[in-house]
Symmetry: C2
Subunit: 236 residues, 2 copies
Amino acid sequence: MKKTLGIIGGMGPAATCDLMEKVIALTRASCDQEHIHIITDCNTNIPDRTAAILQGGPDPVPELQRSAARLETAGAEVLCMPCNTAHHFYDQVADAVQIPVLHMPRETAGILRQAGVKTAGVLATDGTVQSGVYEKALAREGIEAVYPDKEDQAQIMRLIYQGVKARAVPLADIPVGEILSRLRGRGAEVFLLACTELPIAFAELGQMEGCLDPTRVLAFAAVRACGGETTADSPW
Amino acid sequence: MKKTLGIIGGMGPAATCDLMEKVIALTRASCDQEHIHIITDCNTNIPDRTAAILQGGPDPVPELQRSAARLETAGAEVLCMPCNTAHHFYDQVADAVQIPVLHMPRETAGILRQAGVKTAGVLATDGTVQSGVYEKALAREGIEAVYPDKEDQAQIMRLIYQGVKARAVPLADIPVGEILSRLRGRGAEVFLLACTELPIAFAELGQMEGCLDPTRVLAFAAVRACGGETTADSPW
């Protein structure tokens, strides 16, 4: 009997669907009943994580904990959060429930270590960058994090907030290729799409080459944590 | 304050994500927090609906009711079921909760009536066809249902079960264009993709012309039922 997966979602809603699709695609199943039972709380009442970390915006922890508890009560046996920035609050979420909560940056760092990566370029929200969530997870595996410069970081934020979340700016307006090329110049062997909106944008832009998608890493870890068989040998 | 939407899902999992994406795309929102709070139970323990209707397979009602109750307990205020065949059991699901449950075939029939359609081609599982779920919903609006012949119906079942659910047969192996052309010959003015796996297949095949997608109709109705503003004036 496979375990039931709980997804603390809504950060944003599109990234939540993206994780669900990746879990479904990575599960070896020939009919509905062989898939993993997933309960998703696409909780759009969770305040913006970056605004909380950088600008003293409303604290997302109470709503994150409410979602975690709601999912546990509903029957989830393993939890995950498809929002990298939310992992700044990981300990407080994990403390709110009795069931395990997967840690997306640590799972991602583990995959990079297995691949022998020494330096990873981190594309993420300002909140994720400033909080050091990825830096810490990568350091545990002996991997160095490099980041875009200030102007490129502002473009990444525009891609996330105006491009994907608001759909107000065409994704192609952001010079992604040039940003990646400059990151490569700083030593990045691989690019981490360390905001869950980025794999959506990069897939649409056809820019997945050389990138590792932490959402796919989390989906892969979730299928295995629930006792499912994966359709691939690794999340690359 | 918008209402929380509950989705009784897992029938199949891909169709569940498809509905969520359509709800998200149809909601006018410029940030995560303006989207609708959705709780989804992708309950893959629900037995196959067509097998239950036609072959005396396990009864899906207890699990459907369990999902409905789980979602109500978790805070959902409006429910919907992204599975057309499951609407054969609609009354039993609606009776299990105090909150309203949207009815996909009836919402779809309403949209067709508004468009002045008199005859609709119904593409669906054997279970949906035999149960008359669409025939009854369409008849309430004075619309006639026409169906594929026996061989074409077998191809539609293959597209649903082998093509989308199992991903064991390439979608392009099914002669969809010819099936639609024969249905048009029987008087169909529009094609109802009346199994939630079909909009997924038809979108991939580039065959949406002349089709109405009940999943999109349901998403449209769900956004409005939750008090959200839609990004389009109709689900066409």
